[in-house]
Every structure is written in structure tokens, then in C-alpha cells.
Subunit: 193 residues, 2 copies
């Protein structure tokens, strides 16, 4: 424990501090100096863990992406109808977002200026493709409304999920947010007679 210096300055705490700063001021505008100041350690102490800030970005966005793909894999193994796999995917994605909020927030703000960002965007597109296929399959099976283009439905569905990063704060929550998102997404906000 604390093998690499003072406690709280292992790679995990460096990563968490980096993600907080990247989210607060933007990746481009956060220097290794800012990071060292934020952690109260020297830059060389950070270089002990990673070759540079791009590696921190890579670790952070991949944590979010690995989580999303793990949920997608689990969803794929749900037996029954595509709409059930889709609901599993929505609930699981909300769960991951809540659990890894700073990491998912960073992922969703990536714009693609560096190699790491472009790689993250490519993986995001792959995830979006999985969602779009599942929506299309559920619509073919007659479980989703046919009057909205499946591609638009898929976008709106994950637009709803991802909008949580703008306001949802787990510490203040009194709601089962996966349940709320799933109910509203699948059944709508209107009460049926």
C-alpha cells in the first residue's frame, strides 16, 4: 500500500484529479503544471505514473468506454425480444453513467483534436451503432413505435440518457434514476388512461 509514495498519490488518485480538472476547464487548457498543483505534488511525481496528460485522457475515456461495452455485452446476452435487450442497455448505461459520472462526462465532451480523442470518438460511434441496430431490430419485431425513424429514436434515446451529465449529481439524488429514465423513455411522461 502506498508503495509509490504518499498515500493518495497512486495512479488512481492522479487519474481522478486529472478527470476533474479536464471536466472543469477542458482537456486542452489543463497542463501538467495545473495537475501537479491540483494534487499538491511535483510534475515528476506524476511522470512517475504516466508519460503525459494524453495517457491520463486515454485511461479515463477508456474506463467509460469499457464500461459501456461491458453493458452492451451483457445486454446482448439477454434472451427474449430486442426491446428487452434495449431496455437492459438503457438501464445499464444510466447505471454506469451514475457510477462513473466524471469519466462518462469527459468521454461525452471529447471533441477529437488528438489521436486519443479520435480513437475515443471511433469507439463511441461503434457503441452508437450497437444501439441503432438494437432499436432497428426492436422496431422490426413490432415493439417500438414505427412512426419515428429508428435512427432518430436511437439518437433521442441516448440523448436522454447522456443529458444526465448536465444535472444529475448522485450525492443529492433521491430517485432511482435508471428506473425514471427507462419509464420515461419507453412509456413516455404522459399517464395513460
Amino acid at each position: 500500500m502506498a508503495r509509490r509514495g504518499r498515500p493518495g498519490h497512486d495512479l488512481e488518485s492522479v487519474l481522478r484529479c486529472a478527470v476533474a480538472l479536464f471536466n472543469e476547464r477542458g482537456y486542452d487548457r489543463t497542463s501538467m503544471e495545473d495537475l501537479a498543483r491540483g494534487l499538491g505534488i511535483t510534475k515528476s511525481a506524476i511522470y512517475h505514473h504516466v508519460p503525459g496528460k494524453e495517457e491520463l485522457l486515454r485511461l479515463a475515456v477508456n474506463r467509460a468506454l469499457d464500461g459501456l461495452f461491458a453493458v452492451a455485452d451483457e445486454a446482448a446476452s439477454v434472451e427474449g425480444r430486442a426491446v428487452e435487450r434495449l431496455e437492459y442497455l438503457v438501464r445499464g448505461s444510466v447505471g454506469l453513467l451514475v457510477e462513473q459520472l466524471p469519466f462518462v462526462t469527459l468521454l461525452l465532451r471529447v471533441r477529437g483534436n488528438t489521436r486519443v480523442e479520435r480513437a475515443a470518438l471511433a469507439r463511441r460511434r461503434e457503441f452508437d451503432r450497437i444501439v441503432a441496430e438494437l432499436v432497428a431490430e426492436a422496431e422490426r419485431e413490432g415493439d417500438l413505435r414505427p412512426d419515428v425513424d429508428p435512427a432518430v429514436t436511437a439518437r433521442l434515446l441516448f440523448g436522454l440518457v447522456n443529458s444526465l451529465i448536465e444535472w444529475y449529481r448522485p450525492a443529492r439524488a433521491r430517485t432511482d434514476i435508471s428506473e425514471a429514465v427507462a419509464r420515461i423513455a419507453f412509456e413516455g411522461i404522459r399517464l395513460r388512461a
Copy 2:
């Protein structure tokens, strides 16, 4: 016409160029020099129209906010049930977002570092309050599902609307997006038997 110099360099075109740059690289990182370069005119030609970039930000976010409040005023005058006013507000907000996409995008990315940004955030909160009250009223009237906290419903509803800025591009659209958002938000994506 073109009273103030070459055509295309009136205040409106300066404003549109500024909004495009603010959205692309962030307000903080866009200088008057960047703006002059983007427009192919001198900085003093821009100062002919506005005292500085903060005034451009103010004009831009207020265009979006004035539009949203105009929709809210119209919604308030819709007779009948609160749920109908709410649906009017959702459709109108999507319509405004589509019509004024760069302005609404800028508004939704404002983070509050300057006086103008803080004022914009205050007006956004006021708009959010109107939405939340309408949702609460519609729920009291028995038209919205009671199993989700009205504050959460209001957040998710406009999370869905606002998520459009991430992917919706009017030029490529083949869908009535106000209709798609309203259907999905109020009725859900699942087809009812």
C-alpha cells in the same frame, strides 16, 4: 443596404461568425483577432459594431433566451390542460432550437465565468422553473405519470430536447423533429398493444 461597409459585414454577419467560432473553440479561447481573421476584416471594423466580444456573447445568448421566453409566453396562453401547454412548450422549444441552432448551442454551453454568462444562466434557470411548474401542474391534473418526481421529469424532458444540439443538423434532416421529440417524450418509444 451595406450602409456600414462591404456587404456581409453588418452586425448580423459579425454575430453569426462569432457564434460559429465560440461554438467551435469556446468563448474564452476566441479572441477579437480570431474573429477579425474569420471575417476577413480588421478588428476596428468589428469595434465599429460592438465594444467587444462580450457584447457579441450577450447578443447571441439573448437571441436564444428571448426565443425560449417567447415560446413560453405562447404556451402560457394555450387554453385547456397544463399537459397541452407543456406539449406546446416542448414542440416550440424544439422548433426554436432547430431554427436558431448555433445560438441555442452557445446558450447551452455557457458555463458562467463572466457577467454576461452568469446573467444567461440566471435566465436559463428562470426558464427551467417555468418548465418545472408546468410539469408539476400537469401532474396535479393527473395527466403525467406520478411515479417519477416532477422535478426529474422536467429535467429529463428538456434533457431530451437539448440533446438535439449534439447531433441534429437541419440541412440533413428528413424527419419532423418536433413531432418525433413530442411523441417520444409524451408517449415513449414503445409501441402499445
